[in-house]
Structure formats: C-alpha cells, structure tokens
C-alpha cells in the first residue's frame, strides 16, 4: 500500500489529555484516512495496513499551537523556510504555527498572505499568516486589513517593531476591530531601548553591556492598555517579559479589556545571570530579564493571567551570532524546545499540572487566534502529539533540524521529549 505516513494509525493505551476540559483518561485513538475515527478503550481494528503506536506510559494530546514564529520566508530563506520551519515545528510536537510578517517583502499585502497560504499547503504542519499592521512594518500607514483578513490572515502584528505613533496605534485598534482579528503587540519604547543589548540591571551594570530597561516594554503596555480600553480592540501582548507587565495585564483583564498575552520558554527558563557567559544566543528581544521578572512570569502562568506560551522562534545564521555581543542579532530558535523547555520549568520545577501547561500551547493560543486547533475529537482531522514526559536529554547543537542553530537551550538538561507527531492526519514525525 502507500507510504508509512499514509497508513491508518492506532495509538494504544496512551494517557490522553484533553486540555480544554483539563481531563485525563487512558484510552486508544484510531485514525482512519487522516481523521480521528474513534477515541476509546481497547479499540479493535483489523487489517495489516495499520501503524500501531504503543503509547503505554506516554501522554497523548492535541498537537501544539505556536502563535509566534519567524519562518523567514520569503526573503531570508538561508535562515529558515516554511518547509524547514514546519519540519522543526512537528519535531517539537507543534502542528499549527502562526508566522510573523517581518519577512522581505513583509506580509503586508494580499499577495504575500496568499504566498504563505499556498506555500504551506505541502508543509508538515499548518502555517497561518499573521499580517502586518502597517505597510512595510514602517509604523506609518495602516495595511489593507480587510483584504488581508479575507486572504486568510489570523491576526495583525508589526512584530519586531512597535508603533511609536500613539494616534496611529489608536486608529489601528479601531480599524482592526472591524475584522475581529487580534493585534499581536511587540511592546518596545525605542527611546529607551535604542542602544540596549540586554536587560538593564545588576548584570548589565557589572558587565558593561548596554541595558534595555523593563520600562521599554512597560510604558508601551500601559499605553496600549489605555488605547484598547478606549477603542475596544482585541489586543494580545506577545513575549511578555516583565513583572510589571504581568501586573498590568492582570488589572486590564479585571477591568474588562479584551486583552491576552503570551510568554516565551526562554523568558520562563532563564534570568539575566546567564549573561556573564557573553553567549550571544542569550541576546534576545525583549531581553531575558531579572530573576524577579522570571518569577512573576511563572506566577502569571499559575494564576492564569498568561494565556499562552509561544516560542518566538527567531532563526539566525552562525555568522550573525558568532560575533561580538554588540554586533550579534537578537533572537533564539525555539520550535524544537517549546515543550521541553517550558515543561521542565513549569511542570517539573514550578509544579504546574501537565494539563494546565498543555492548554497554554493548544487551546489557549487557538482561542486567542480564534482558530480551529488545539483539540482532539472524533470526526476531526488528526493533529496529535505523543510525549514521553519522563525522558531527559542534554540539548546539543547537532540535535536541531531547523536551518539555524542559534538556540539558547544548547547545553541545558531538559525533561520531556516528543515521541510522535501526527499533523494534518499524517504521522510526520516518529522518534519512537
């Protein structure tokens, strides 16, 4: 018959986690022609053309949704492509990614959105375009949000940049509201961050590295909360990094503002004490902040203020990272370590329940983007991840299949490993 990945699949005796209902059960899952045919105990199916996955002792859950990814396509295909990024995603158990528009050209036209949609048809996972808020991400003119949303954009963002003009930001909010799509906001006050490389605090002071104060994020978060309150827009603060940010989003939610937020595994995992190594993979934006900020982010997850964990996968070439700290590009890759890095910190150290954590990388982001993902139900296309939560591995540069290798997690010991990923109904990753 057909290729192994086209076979029908039976996942046996897995610990099934339904993150939306936060329930667990032990059951089998049968996938026929790419569709979840049945979830239940002791499923009996006949036929030789069945791929059986023994999931005894393993977790079976919906494929992950990573709502903040840079696929660098079009324009920077030497760093990553839709194809290579999607392969890295499924290796990380991710079956849906939302890709950011800071490509070349930027995803700011109907044509560019269609390019992503078409190029991702054959990708290993679903790729959903986030379109630019302003033309060319220049922070001056609003994009054709109507055309972009009709073409398939799932949100708007100038990620990597922040609209400095407050009046323009207010109009962006009012207009985006018409289309019901979220604005994904990278918060940064350039007057503060301009020369900065790392979090401004004890370590920047001692190491002589130019600082980026937490105020850079906080002032813009405060502004955008006020603008969102007035415009009634749906706003999402991405890669939240500060304690004050968590506090402000918490209050805004209580005040009835339509606001959500996400945090990256690297901001949850590291604090600025790692900077003394001058390892350029720790140069990210927003910067890895103080231990107090890190703790506040973890608390924000536990208290439910934070709605999603997203990688901010930011591939860069070796030549852009193997240089001085000042000259190195900002960013770390994160698709392949999304689960294990956050799981190690949140579940193993901070004692968050596995179901709660999984909801942050499945139904949590799916709800923010208002997309049909992060669920595992009979009759739906199979997007399923099988995880060995007991596995432990030291991350090595050679482990990564992403085109770029700039991971902040190289050398770290992480818990949890993706065993299999079924994406778009097919077994696309099998490490069993």
């Amino acid at each position: 018959m057909g290729k192994a990945e086209d076979k029908n699949i039976l996942i046996r005796k897995g610990r099934i986690i339904d993150p939306a209902k936060k329930t667990e059960s032990s059951a089998d899952v049968f996938i026929k022609d790419g569709i979840v045919e049945k979830i239940g105990k002791n499923i009996k199916v006949a036929g030789s053309d069945i791929e059986v996955i023994d999931a005894g002792g393993l977790v079976v859950c919906p494929g992950f949704v990573d709502m903040h990814v840079h696929l660098r396509d079009p324009g920077f295909e030497d760093k990553e492509t839709i194809e290579s990024g999607a392969m890295a995603a499924v290796k990380g158990g991710i079956t849906t990614v939302a890709c950011m528009p800071n490509t070349d050209p930027a995803i700011d036209s109907e044509h560019a959105v269609k390019y992503i949609m078409e190029k991702s048809i054959n990708a290993a996972c679903r790729v959903l375009p986030v379109a630019a808020m302003t033309k060319g991400l220049k922070g001056r003119n609003i994009t054709e949000m109507g055309l972009l949303s009709q073409a398939g954009a799932v949100g708007f963002s100038d990620d990597g940049k922040c609209v400095a003009d407050s009046m323009l930001m207010y109009e962006i909010m009012r207009y985006s509201n018409q289309f019901g799509l979220p604005l994904i906001l990278h918060e940064e006050d350039y007057n503060i961050s301009k020369y900065g490389l790392v979090h401004e605090g004890h370590y920047s002071s001692m190491l002589g590295l130019e600082g980026i104060s937490g105020l850079s994020d906080d002032l813009m978060i405060a502004r955008d909360i006020m603008l969102a309150g007035r415009s009634k827009a749906k706003v999402h603060i991405t890669h939240l990094s500060t304690a004050a940010g968590v506090e402000m989003v918490d209050k805004a939610k209580k005040d009835g503002i339509d606001i959500t937020c996400d945090v990256t595994p690297h901001h949850l995992f590291f604090d600025d004490s790692v900077l003394s190594s001058f390892n350029t993979n720790f140069k990210v934006k927003p910067p890895i902040r103080s231990s107090e900020d890190r703790k506040a982010l973890a608390e924000g997850i536990k208290s439910g203020v934070i709605d999603a964990v997203a990688s901010d996968h930011a591939p860069h070439l070796d030549t852009e990272k193997n240089t001085t700290f000042k000259l190195a590009e900002f960013g770390t890759i994160g698709l392949e370590t999304l689960f294990s890095a956050a799981y190690t910190k949140l579940c193993r150290e901070e004692k968050l329940s596995l179901a709660e954590f999984i909801s942050l990388i499945t139904c949590g982001p799916a709800k923010i983007l208002n997309i049909d993902a992060g669920k595992m139900e009979e009759g739906r296309e199979a997007n399923i991840t099988v995880i060995d939560t007991e596995a432990e591995q030291r991350i090595k540069r050679g482990d990564f299949i992403s085109k770029s290798k700039n991971s902040a997690f190289i050398g770290q010991k992480l818990r949890g490993k993706i065993v299999c990923t079924i994406s778009k109904g097919k077994l696309v990753y099998n490490n069993k």
């Binding site: 020369y195 004890h202 920047s204 002071s205 190491l207 002589g208 590295l209 193997n322 001085t324 000042k326």
Partner: protein, 306 residues
C-alpha cells in the same frame, strides 16, 4: 603560574594571583632601570597585539613589556587591516592561530569580546580592554602604584570619580580595590552610574570625599563611548566633579591622585593641577602609573607564558 591560562577580568583572579603579579613586578621594575633593559626570559615566544580599537598607551606598554622580555611582538590594528574588507573576528583569529603565536593581547570596543576570543582559542588571552566591561591590567598597575606608595592596601580609602557607565577601568578597579580590602566610594552623577551599582557606596560630589580619601582616582570622561549625552555641561561637571588647585590643597598629606590617561584637561583635572611642580606635585602619580604599567605587564606576560 596564574590559576587560569588567561587574564580576562578581575572576577576570575584569585588573591594568590594578585599577590604573585605584585611580587613579580618588583623584579621586572628593576630591569627597566638598567642600562640594558632586556632579559632573555621569553626568547622565541610570539605575542600578538590584537587591537581593534585605537590605543597608544596600552598597546605601547605591552609592546615594550614584551620586548624587554625578548618576546617577538606583532602589532595588529583594525585600521588598514582585512577587517575593513569584511573579514570576521573569527576568521582573523583563525589566521593568527595558523601563524602559531603563543599569546593574544586583545583590545576591542565591544564588551565581552575578550571572553569570546578566549573561548575560541587554546592559547592564553590577555584582555587589554573590552568595551565598557573590563581592563584588568590597568587595574593591576594601579594597584601596584598604590602598593608602592602606601606599602599596604587594606583599609585604604579609595574614591573613584567620574563616568562609571562607560568606563571599563572603573569596573576593573572597583572590583580589584574591594577584593584587596580597600574601602571604595564611587563619586558620580546619576547619568554616569549604571542602573544597579547599589552594592557600592555612592556620593554625588568630589567635595564629599576630597578631605578623607587616600586615593583620588579620576576616571577619564569617555566622550567617545557615550551613546547619548545627558550631562548638562562641562561647567556643571567642573563644579561638582573636577580636581582643581583648591580641592587638591584640601587633600590629606599622604594622599595621591591617579588617572588612567589620557586626561581630558579641564574636565577631570584642571590645567593648573596637571602642570604643577614642587611638593604638591608629588601627589599626582599619573606618570608612575605609566612606568609601573610596563613592569606589571612584564610580570603578567612572564607568569602566563613561562
């Protein structure tokens, strides 16, 4: 032998290393006073002066130190080098390593570069100043100068004045002075202090320390390293932070004035003080710092390479 192969920062220096460097400096200082200022100690060893940032004093000081020890020293400066043709630092290092040198002395405008270079090569590396981070040999020669004057270090009151935000000398000296038991006070306006120096004692005016300090360490105002200029004016600086005759006269009899050079005349120190002669001039040890700098660097080269 030092406890580590390279000299990158003050933090990784053990107290034993510091003692060893100071005690060896005495004998190397003696060589510099001879008529034939050369010993064969490092004959046949090749030292590479890798300077990505303009420098006359430090580069020359290392060059003289290496030559007095009979090492071969090669000077590389970024101006006129292949870096202008887009060669990366890593490729430059590979080229240097292929030529089988024994030690690299690195100066670079970006913080952390010495550590990066050390991580890339197996041979020892000496940090001759990396951005706003560290300048350990400057701190060690300053410490030697102080030891020469006072005999001991513990309990001495050191006041460091000026631009801490942009100064690598400040970071190395503060750490080394504290490490050796001195009582350190930083004098600086808010905009010249990094965000978190909260563990140090801070004053805002030179007048708060002038009568009580043993060492008045004037930092160079790093005009070339300031990303944004927030300080209102030189007149304001003079009023609160500069050393002039009036202030010099208020200092304790045995106290000294230091500066890593080159002095911005009229900013850190007035012309009058700089050109002083007679008894009061003995307080100004800037030239001794330079003289001892060669001997300290000889000691460091010797301890690392032999």
């Amino acid at each position: 032998m030092l406890s580590k192969k390279s000299l990158l920062d003050i933090e990784s220096l053990e107290l034993e290393d510091i003692k060893l460097i100071l005690s060896n400096t005495d004998s190397f200082l003696e060589i510099s006073k001879r008529e034939v200022k050369k010993v064969p100690t490092l004959r046949g060893r090749t030292v590479f002066n890798l300077f990505f940032e303009p420098s006359t004093r430090t580069r020359t000081s290392f060059e003289i130190a290496a030559k007095r020890l009979s090492a071969d020293i090669i000077n590389f400066s970024a101006a006129g080098s292949s870096l202008k043709k887009g060669e990366s630092i890593i490729d430059t290092l590979k080229t240097i390593l292929s030529m089988k040198v024994d030690l690299i002395i690195i100066r670079h405008s970006d913080s952390g570069t010495a550590k990066m270079v050390d991580g890339f090569v197996d041979i020892p590396v000496i940090n001759a100043g990396d951005g706003k981070h560290q300048h350990p040999t400057q701190a060690l020669l300053d410490l030697y100068t102080i030891k020469k004057r006072f005999g001991q270090l513990k309990g001495l009151k050191a006041a460091v004045i000026g631009d801490f935000l942009n100064s690598r000398v400040a970071r190395s000296n503060m750490e080394l002075f504290e490490k050796t038991g001195m009582d350190v006070t930083l004098v600086s306006p808010a905009m010249f202090l990094p965000e978190d120096f909260s563990e140090f004692k801070v004053r805002y005016s030179i007048d708060d320390v002038i009568e009580d300090c043993d060492i008045l360490y004037m930092l160079r105002m790093q005009l070339e390293r300031q990303d944004r200029k927030f300080y209102p004016s030189i007149m304001e600086y003079n009023r609160f932070l500069s050393l002039d005759m009036e202030r010099l006269k208020k200092m304790k009899p045995e106290s000294i004035v230091m500066h890593p050079g080159p002095v911005n005349r009229g900013i850190e120190i007035s012309d009058e003080v700089m050109d002083l002669s007679g008894k009061l001039a003995e307080k100004i040890v800037i030239e001794e710092q330079v003289t001892y700098g060669v001997a300290v660097r000889m000691a460091i080269l010797y301890l690392i390479l032999s």
